[in-house]
């Protein structure tokens, strides 16, 4: 008998709890319902409005950003695309994949440090194992046996994500020349990340692959042209979905970064 009372009480409490939590989650449900009744045709828009409240991107530099997006798009169309196409026809896909693997392997210190800074220790150790395997068995990172044989995944983390992880907001959106969409947080983060990169031209106490600005630009160009040759149609397919290229790329970038930070 006690058990039955207990269950009834529990179910009543749970019911109330359910109702109150519902109220907290959706305060405007009654209002939405009313609006739906009034205008059945537009009901769908109301019903989904809670899900599609878009957060506006803070964009005080939109004029400059628009100009730079146009510049970058032109640079892609008239320089990067033809050069990458030529590069693609000359080099076999497997060689290009090896070049990509080589560069990815070089950025290990950046990924490792940022995984540690975010307390993602298992990811950091996976990265460590990848680096050791790929640098040795994978011949200086040209091959990726860590993934193909041992299923060790790369975990992309950069300082921008680390700052985001600790709650630093993105700040205004800024389109960087040639590098494309970014924001204040991610732009500032390029510097600490570059300190961990062996491709750099500033004075360092440790070994770097490039010593002068010219060498740095050469290496970076090779990396980017190689990347583009492997992902040729990605940008173009994306560009086709844009009614207005700048806000489109801006939103895609910010949504993508938010997702990376949440992970």
């Amino acid at each position: 008998m006690r058990f039955i009372y207990l269950t009834i009480c529990l179910s009543i409490i749970l019911n109330f709890a359910g109702c109150s939590s519902k109220n907290i989650e959706k305060p405007s449900e009654a209002a939405l319902y009313e609006a739906k009744e009034n205008n059945a045709v537009n009901g769908d828009v109301e019903e989904f409005s809670d899900e599609f409240k878009t957060e506006e991107v803070y964009d005080p530099f939109s004029g400059y950003n628009r100009f730079m997006t146009g510049f970058n798009d032109g640079a892609y169309e008239y320089v990067l695309k033809p050069v990458s196409k030529g590069y693609k026809t000359v080099l076999h896909v497997e060689i290009r994949e090896s070049v990509r693997n080589f560069f990815n392997n070089l950025y290990f210190p950046m990924r490792f440090a940022n995984n540690i800074l975010q307390g993602k220790l298992s990811y950091a150790s996976e990265e460590g194992a990848r680096f050791v395997l790929n640098t040795t068995v994978g011949i200086a990172g040209l091959f990726d046996p860590a993934k193909s044989c041992f299923e060790l995944q790369a975990h992309e983390e950069d300082f921008g994500q680390t700052l985001g992880f600790y709650g630093v907001g993105s700040g205004p959106h800024i389109v960087l020349p040639l590098l494309g969409p970014s924001n204040l947080r991610d732009m500032i983060s390029l510097y600490p990340d570059s300190l961990l990169s062996p491709i750099d031209y500033n004075e360092r106490r440790y070994w770097t692959l490039t010593d002068t600005l010219a060498e740095y630009l050469e290496a970076k160009s090779l990396e980017n042209i190689n990347y583009m040759s492997l992902n040729m149609d990605r940008y173009e397919k994306m560009r086709k979905d844009a009614v207005d290229l700048y806000p489109y790329l801006r939103d895609v970038y910010e949504q993508y970064r938010n997702k990376q930070i949440k992970e």
């Binding site: 009834i8 537009n42 991107v57 979905d241 009614v243 806000p247 939103d251 993508y256 938010n258 949440k262």
Partner: protein, 201 residues
């Protein structure tokens, strides 16, 4: 009195258990249906005998019953939708649907030796289910979320659960469109948006 309580409790338990089962069954059914559809699309994509046009046509034919493109069109305009005349609403929906179909078939066209794995099912509220999937290829895993809703009335040429948004690596197609159109309409008119969309297709 005891008996009454017992009966009430028993009934309650049955209703709860049955209700939950129903929801679980619905998820299982939808998952089965979704994976079957994906297999169908992959078969079309891999059929190298077909010309590119007929391949795209077949992809669209497979996908159309799964997607609520009309709802996406409405939602993409947000509150502006209500301000449109009936004629403009119809025009806009037709253009948006066409744009979505083209965008999808061109993206799916690039599928190669890839498979789809459902790794999580989220049911945030009644009538809405999200499948968190991985598109697995030799190179990488791509997280894609398909969001389904169940319209109150089933439409003739459509499935009972329909996709209203797709998130690729956290980028929601619908959210991006909402933001794009909103910004466009701040300085330009709806007729200009309709023109811009018709130029795209």
């Amino acid at each position: 009195m005891k008996k009454v309580y017992k009966n009430v409790m028993l009934m309650l338990f049955f209703i709860m258990a049955f209700g939950q089962n129903l929801a679980a069954n619905e998820q299982v059914e939808l998952k089965k249906h979704f994976l079957k559809k994906i297999d169908e699309v992959i078969l079309v994509v891999e059929d190298k005998k077909l010309s590119k046009d007929s391949r795209n046509g077949n992809i669209i034919k497979c996908l159309t019953p799964m997607f609520d493109f009309e709802l996406m069109a409405k939602l993409s305009l947000g509150n502006k939708w209500k301000e449109l005349s009936k004629e403009n609403q119809d025009k806009f929906v037709a253009l948006y649907v066409e744009r979505m179909k083209q965008s999808y078939s061109s993206k799916i066209d690039a599928y190669k030796d890839e498979k789809v794995e459902v790794k999580k099912i989220d049911q945030s509220q009644e009538g809405r289910i999200a499948f968190v999937t991985d598109l697995v290829s030799k190179e990488q895993k791509l997280e894609i979320v398909y969001k389904f809703h169940k319209p109150k009335e089933k439409r003739n040429d459509k499935d009972s659960w329909l996709i209203y948004d797709v998130e690729i690596l956290g980028v929601s197609i619908l959210k991006t469109d909402i933001a794009q159109f909103k910004e466009f309409l701040q300085t330009k008119s709806i007729t200009e948006l309709i023109d811009a969309l018709s130029k795209q297709s």
